[in-house]
């Protein structure tokens, strides 16, 4: 499992990365490997306003359809339209090319509520242990 130490995490397996005043969001490498081959990503529209914890889309794989949640409140300023034709980018590069949306955060302080890599690793370990 790849962990990116430069991003923060949500227990539900989304990540957030600060880029200037904006925040880029995707799902974790662990999430993509659990879902297996991703065939479709449904994303919100640019201009939508979402609150922390809101569902922002659906990731559909050959195994399941998973709802995905937004780690911070904010307004959507961009979505990764490349995923329409190439959803496999999420499998190949969950923290990079597989990004999903970019928001302008409404409450930047929410960043501090997110998990760091070590805390997220613990969440994953616990889930793995429960699953095994």
């Amino acid at each position: 499992m790849n962990l990116d130490t430069s991003v923060r995490y949500l227990e539900t397996h989304e990540w957030a990365r600060k880029e200037g005043d904006e925040v880029v969001i995707g799902i974790t490498d662990y999430a993509q490997s659990t879902l297996s081959d991703i065939v479709y990503v449904e994303l919100p529209e640019v201009g939508d306003t979402l609150n922390k914890g809101d569902q922002f889309g659906v990731v559909e794989s050959v195994k399941a359809a998973a709802d995905v949640y937004i780690p911070m409140s904010g307004k959507v300023v961009a979505v990764n339209t490349a995923l329409e034709d190439a959803p496999e980018a999420v499998n190949e590069d969950a923290f990079g090319e597989g990004w999903m949306l970019r928001i302008s955060p409404a409450n930047p302080a929410q960043w501090d509520e997110l998990l760091d890599a070590a805390a997220y690793q613990k969440v994953v370990d616990e889930e793995e242990a429960a699953g095994a």
Binding site: P44, E45, V58, A65, D67
Partner: protein, 452 residues
């Protein structure tokens, strides 16, 4: 043969396991007086006696095989080639439940794939699903698709008043709770231009039927552009009669977004109202918002053709509580019947059927128009159904037709006053390839007798 597999001993063991004395105790919470009400049934009959009794009762009904029939209004009496029932009755296909498991259901899946392909050809659309319950539910699903395409942000739906009244009801039923604003009214004289004026940037779709409930054909040229422009890409949904597409340019050629309709005319009997078949075709960019399921063609690891269920994006097993459609199946056997029908007729056969419908209906319109007191409404061109203004309430005329001519009973047309109060004394007359010239002349003669 014992049909219930449990023995008394097994039942007793199960009752003991859950600590209940007898089976009646399982129903303790149903008030006693409702538990075993006396049914007062007559004595049982043998199979022979039962069939004779049912045959006797059935013969009290008029049936459309032997009675000249001019009733349509959404369900049509067409010739069903014998091959249709032969194929769908085969044990491999004839099951109560459509099997989708690819390992054991290649025949069923291939038939669905062929059905989808034929519907795409017929409608001129990119993608067709495996089918819906009937035309009405397919129309409602098209509304929900449009609503989802705009991510539930547009709540206005324009429904032409000449869409089948039952379809309009089902659209209301299916969209309860979505807080949609369904406009269009029920005045059948509303023009297309007036309808398009109702479209705005909060409109998810406009639904038009052609031939419409009154049989009228609408020119689709330019409509999609007008709706897309006025409604900022609001969808244009067309409900159509598949037989009419044997003669007419497919709606897909006019830039329509979704085409749906009742598949009953394609080789299904009238069947006392069902089971019927809803066909549904749309553009490939909306496939994720489409209800129902798609069967696709693929290759297995040995490179051989195979058919699998490819997409079920709106269904409960994949979307759980976020599912946006309650259909998790298709009308398998009816879709198969339509497939066999279309395959048996082919392109030329379907055109021939459509032509026969068109020409016979127009012959009938002339014949009826010539009867004093009766006149055919000719606001628009029509396909195989048209409105006749009558000199008396339609139910009176229909009662007369059952007894008008010596030894001949005729099933008349549909009484439009049931759905359009201001269309009193208006009869919707359907004519298909099944109506001989003799039958049509009989109808005109009976109308004449009514006036006399």
């Amino acid at each position: 043969m014992v049909y219930i597999p449990h023995t008394d001993a097994e039942r007793q063991a199960m009752l003991e396991a859950i600590g209940v004395e007898n089976i009646e105790e399982l129903f303790w919470d149903i008030p006693k007086k409702f538990r075993y009400p006396p049914l007062n049934l007559p004595d049982s009959l043998s199979e022979m006696e039962t069939l004779q009794e049912l045959q006797f009762l059935a013969e009290l009904n008029l049936n459309t095989n032997t009675t000249p029939t001019f009733l349509g209004a959404g369900a049509y009496r067409h010739w069903v080639p014998s091959v249709v029932d032969y194929v769908i009755s085969r044990g491999e296909f004839y099951t109560a439940y459509t099997p989708y498991q690819a390992e054991v259901s290649q025949g069923t899946l291939q038939a669905i794939f062929e059905y989808e392909s034929m519907i795409c050809d017929l409608t001129g659309m990119d993608v067709a699903n495996a089918s819906h319950y009937d035309g009405a539910t397919a129309a409602a699903e098209a509304v929900i698709q449009a609503y989802n395409v705009f991510r539930k942000k547009r709540s206005k739906i324009v429904v032409a008043p000449t869409v089948h009244p039952h379809y309009r009801q089902v659209i209301h039923t299916y969209t309860q709770g979505m807080e949609l604003e369904i406009v269009g009214g029920d005045d059948p004289t509303t023009t297309l231009a007036q309808l398009i004026e109702l479209v705005d940037d909060q409109t998810a779709c406009l639904i038009l039927q052609t031939p419409d409930f009154l049989g009228q054909l609408h020119d689709l040229a330019g409509l999609a552009d007008a709706i897309h422009a006025r409604g900022k890409d609001a969808q244009f949904v067309v409900i159509t009669n598949p037989i009419s597409l044997g003669l007419l340019k497919p709606p897909g050629d006019y830039g329509v977004d979704t085409v749906v309709g009742e598949g009953q005319p394609l080789g299904l009997g009238l069947n006392f109202g069902g089971p019927y078949l809803g066909f549904y075709a749309t553009r490939s960019q909306y496939v994720r918002q489409m209800a129902g399921r798609l069967v696709g063609k693929t290759v297995d690891i040995e490179g051989k053709d195979g058919y699998v269920m490819t997409l079920t994006t709106r269904e409960q097993h994949i979307r759980r509580d976020k599912a946006t459609s309650n259909i998790c199946s298709n009308q398998g056997l009816m879709a198969l019947a339509a497939t066999v029908y279309m395959a048996a007729l082919g392109k030329h056969g379907l055109r021939k059927v459509a032509e026969l419908n068109y020409h016979k209906a127009h012959y009938a319109a002339e014949a009826i128009d010539a009867v004093e007191g009766f006149s055919v409404v000719r606001r628009n061109p029509f396909f195989n159904e048209f409105v006749v203004r009558c000199p008396a309430p339609v139910d009176e005329i229909n009662a007369f037709l059952l007894d008008a001519l010596e030894g001949v009973e005729i099933i008349g047309g549909y009484d439009l006053a049931q759905d359009y109060p201001h269309l009193a004394n208006a009869m919707l007359v359907a004519v298909t390839e099944m109506n001989s010239r003799y039958e049509i002349d009989l109808l005109a003669e009976a109308f004449n007798a009514f006036v006399d």
